[in-house]
Symmetry: C2
Subunit: 358 residues, 2 copies
Amino acid sequence: MPNLTLIDVAKLAGVSRSTVSRVVNEDPNVSDDVRDRVLTVIHQTGYQPNMAARSLRTKSSNILGLVIPENVRTLYTDPFFLQLNQGTTQACNAHDKTLALFVESNEETLIPRVTRGGHLDGVVVQSGRANGRLIRALVAAKIPFVVAGRPHNTNGTSYVDIDNTSASYSATIHLVRLGYRRIATITGPLDEVAGMDRLIGYKRALQDRGLPIDEDLISPADFREIGAYIAAKRLIPHRPDAVFVASDLMARSAVRAFSEAGLRVPEDIALVGFDDLPPAVVEPPLLTTIRQPIIEFGYQAVEMLIDLIEHGQDIPRQILLSYELVIRDSCGAKLKGLAPGTGSAISNNSRSSQHVGL
Amino acid sequence: MPNLTLIDVAKLAGVSRSTVSRVVNEDPNVSDDVRDRVLTVIHQTGYQPNMAARSLRTKSSNILGLVIPENVRTLYTDPFFLQLNQGTTQACNAHDKTLALFVESNEETLIPRVTRGGHLDGVVVQSGRANGRLIRALVAAKIPFVVAGRPHNTNGTSYVDIDNTSASYSATIHLVRLGYRRIATITGPLDEVAGMDRLIGYKRALQDRGLPIDEDLISPADFREIGAYIAAKRLIPHRPDAVFVASDLMARSAVRAFSEAGLRVPEDIALVGFDDLPPAVVEPPLLTTIRQPIIEFGYQAVEMLIDLIEHGQDIPRQILLSYELVIRDSCGAKLKGLAPGTGSAISNNSRSSQHVGL
DNA sequence: ATGAAAGCGCTAACAT
DNA sequence: ATGTTAGCGCTTTCAT
């Protein structure tokens, strides 16, 4: 039977309500016997402090928001979001925070639901899409926030991300090392940070190894299946011997496009993907790919957010997480007898996450 | 710049704060010109009412909880939970409710997090597992709740479920109609309602068609892969010609067990599954199975909960949703030329959901 | 170490 | 139609 208040407990314990409050909040300035008495009453009655009243006073609710400006269906279907979510949920559990979910592709209705006063101590924003309006609204509402996963606009905001440039650099270098010379790329959307960074890494790798950058071998796409299919077809006449594809999902499309043109992967054309999500291993050829620590990623975003809430967010914090190159079949390393092992060999970047300058 | 209150708005608009409150809450007793004036100020200032204060007064937070007594990993991996979740999330969006997520397999820590006062207007509990303690805690805390998905303890509680008995009855009848006579079953855990109900439907179908119930043909399992594998092996010496398996995941295990014994599905032994989740169609033989409207299911649970919150929960409400028998390859209907069509033919129970007596 | 009292921002009688 | 007022349950000075 709850609905009892501090006053009820105070009466039962024969003390004032301030004392009960102190006990509940573990204030050391309470004598041991009084504390025991109060605690006993609390346990017997099952008293639970009223959160609304508490947050009204303290201006803090212990609730963190997870904002995903996407369709509900997308969230529960796309393995990227699922893993990101898993990480954030686990982190909230670990820190005893309540997690509120805001999933809606329409910013118009999403924004007021999130900013609607007082509810939230802070939010994690998940999306690769442009979300300038949302972020501006968050700033205006003074809600602390961290952007997780492919942030679009990063100036002055705190975020957690993969080091996309460095990862795509490694992927491309891997292909160079295997002896390929006409290395193409199928990119993500170039107006997204992740898409652009992965292209930059690709270019930089070619430059560093003295290979020419051939615009015909750069085929822009959009992280989606059809876009990648078309992009792959476009590449064929230019006879690449390898392709770095900016996501596993797109890599699968590319495999299809190539095989329709009679090109086998990796015999006729090698492939490296990005993500290491289920599409990478759903069917042969198993994809050599860049593994992102996505769960970790969601986890870190929450921890950063909590830190921001507790210690102020004047200085934006930014973390880049490391990745792994997972070598499987599509790059042809095994074919060439160059794979380090039988199973999926893993080559690490830097094991620990690296902080990046402000 | 938020952090302004009713009083600030009132001053700026030259009215009292009750008037502003009335405008915000769409009370008709406000003259048009005053309303306009206040609304203007609200828009200009970007005022948003403080939720904590509001819920302290009204005893209502507009937050619904989604309680899932499972591992976080399970939630984000098991397609059943994913779909259930999708439905609840969509319903919360549609009703402009904030959704708070509580995912934790340990009831010890889960319960206080959920009941911790005042937060929640109500919760949807998702689980097939025994959750007596959780439910008792909810009752004690006077938090309205609805159980979604295979509730264990149903006395006096409101819930949404599939009509498991009727569905398994249909599945079994389908096998009888196809001419099978030694029809076995691999069950779910018999201490769960869903597991038991599916067994009951199976038995009832055999009885109704004058077939004997042979205990040797009833092989208990637990909705898990290994359990089902063993259960299937156990069945083989008794030479069933068909099996009704209480979940698709288990059906896949059974296919494996049979094929290892040289039995082909459906040529040597027919199979009907349950769920119509991805495992049903991931590889041949495509499973004939019972499709549950799981998303709908989560959606209905939320709507029921809202109704409970608004109109009192003295009378527990209980809804059984209809299912569909999806005919694919594993039952052998096509083999026998008895399938209604080429694609997956669908036979309906009753299209609309049916309310079940109190 | 404990109690008294003020007030967080809001809504809902109750007045007018 | 609008204003006045009294709390909702809690934390937090300020006294003692």
